[in-house]
Assembly symmetry: C2
Homo-oligomer: 407 residues x 2
Amino acid sequence: MKFTKNKADTAPLRDPVYIASAGAAADTSEEAVNATVGTLRDEDGNLVALKTVFDSYDEISRTAKASYASAIKGNPAYRKAVYEWVTPEEKPDLAHAVIASCGGTAAVYAAVTSLLDEGEILIIPETAWTTYRLIAETNNLRTLTYKMFDGERFTLRYIREALYSVMERQKKAVLVVNDPCHNPTGYSMSYEEWEELVSLLNEVSAQGPAALIDDIAYADYSFDTAHVHDYMRAWNGISDNVLMAAAFSCSKTLTSYGMRCGAAVLFAKNSEDLQDLENLMEKKARSIWSSAPNGVMDNFVRVTGEYRSAYLAEKQTYIDLLHRRSSLFLQEAKEAGLHLYPYREGFFITLREEDADRCRRIHEALMKKHIYTVLVSGGIRIGICSVPLEKIRGLAAKIKEAEDQIL
Amino acid sequence: MKFTKNKADTAPLRDPVYIASAGAAADTSEEAVNATVGTLRDEDGNLVALKTVFDSYDEISRTAKASYASAIKGNPAYRKAVYEWVTPEEKPDLAHAVIASCGGTAAVYAAVTSLLDEGEILIIPETAWTTYRLIAETNNLRTLTYKMFDGERFTLRYIREALYSVMERQKKAVLVVNDPCHNPTGYSMSYEEWEELVSLLNEVSAQGPAALIDDIAYADYSFDTAHVHDYMRAWNGISDNVLMAAAFSCSKTLTSYGMRCGAAVLFAKNSEDLQDLENLMEKKARSIWSSAPNGVMDNFVRVTGEYRSAYLAEKQTYIDLLHRRSSLFLQEAKEAGLHLYPYREGFFITLREEDADRCRRIHEALMKKHIYTVLVSGGIRIGICSVPLEKIRGLAAKIKEAEDQIL
């Protein structure tokens, strides 16, 4: 007897990260390198739980942790703190709204499913976190993917093609980008690239509403956090027909992956145009996660408020660590002659291999060398966020060896 | 510019509980009775955060709280503990699967949206928690409601009508019940009523798959917790064409409303028939909340394991308190001649008034008397879970006075 609905793919979930992690966990050899993990680990291989964050959390009362949020769309102080946190000092001159969510994924989910009707097309990066595609699939949306690079350079050419193609078909375009610190390439767009993207959205929006969902989950580990949100000033240039949504996550920002708190921050030229979307997303919130976790929302307000300087200093030590790890890997990769996507910053560096079969074989050859990575579309992801320096040293050369074994 | 999808109702959310609470919060007078709150409060009006639960939570490492769940469908130990917890000692002789979720709402959401296609009909109680309807609405499902009572007695007559009517139209029926401790009436079905319901599901399932989603959010405050899940033994009698799903929530069980953890527990005759649904719900999990909160899952395992007896003893003191509050209110309601739905146990007692206009006017008259309640379909909900005994004393008489003012 089939109980599931008709319009659904009931094939088992194959999450490449969880699958790769399982393989790595089974290899207990001394030389094993587990580069599958997408969470921040210190040089001893322990998950980082920032001291300032958890000192603050431990001070929050049991009653606050036990209690429902004061509002379905999130506690007012949290929504305000998130808005302040994810925008540059000079605020965008746009109407905005914030909806708290149970994690950053839920923020993307609620935005996508509020913008698109069943059967419509969501535009996502070809090389991307696989959950964007899953969100589309489980909601009977189709996807169209775009390449991000032309040779070694970032390009908007494929985004342009995708936007026009989708706009022509459905008179509406919804585009997902994951910037800064794109997972898995580590690319971050420049201010000029953002200006061009805004122009492009304006141009295409002459034919219908255009929405951009920017997944900013890794922004707080940019190598220049003081200016990481400056690109949002380019958002000021959007036309009336363009909506911008930032999907924020506490997972990385507060090293609180297991505490499921995030938010969608919506921007538009006119506040009336935001109201419908805010209403619908609030209903999504109530009907899915009911309310965001109260203690974690409180903690975000505290950490980015009274604990701010201690928190920023502590977090900076891990950004510095990411910098050292990535510099070492990039240097050795250059020496070894590895072909990488243009990494700028963030948790991941990705080997570029657009031949899917060859890519799969390299991935397997690496496992034979006790090197565990994540196979992504167009490459192999190395989670430098979780690999200590001593394991990064020599890694590029070993990868090159594995590559060279594959004809 | 309209950004939201076409098939969506973008009218603002009007959540009757949050609206009623706001009114109550604004009234600071000595005599004010706030019976709107649906969470457990002690005799001093403080939210209950069970000591055993939070003692245990505080012992969980920061790393465990920071960490992602070990599996998308939930940590194995949690899934096992939930299954043990929500089933009677003598286990149902059925295949089962457990999917952890970000709260009990999410468990209902994932089940409903995995079972029904857009445009199909969900069967829900007429007098019910309003979120069931919202889940349907935000997913473009229609609803058909059933009455639970014929005069003073519970009846399956309207459920039967609804099941056959829906089965005829879509060759599949999905029914939501909220038992035991139905919100808002406080009714709990007897074992015999459950046996009859199982027979009815079997009967109607001759025409197509029949699924029952049982929201058990309040089960752990039954007046007879030792036997509260015994009714599931009646589930043994389901046919191959029937699926049973229990939506579990840690919110009340662990007084952890603000920590968003729950689970869907699925039962069917054949494990192969469950697999598709489990696969689809796992994908829903990944694409919505990504993983359930790790520390809270750990805590559930601890509290129902090593802390079990201390926890049960502490929780029992609040069940006893609910018993005293409900007994007092029921006694005085009888003396005053209030017409109530047949309360058995749980957080809520509901005045019965099926004339919607009169009901609304009574609800308003109560506010003029500083008595704050929640207007529900077919009545007025009194949250005895949050009203201290001294405020319950005399409440029924005051309600009767207000009623008598309405012609």
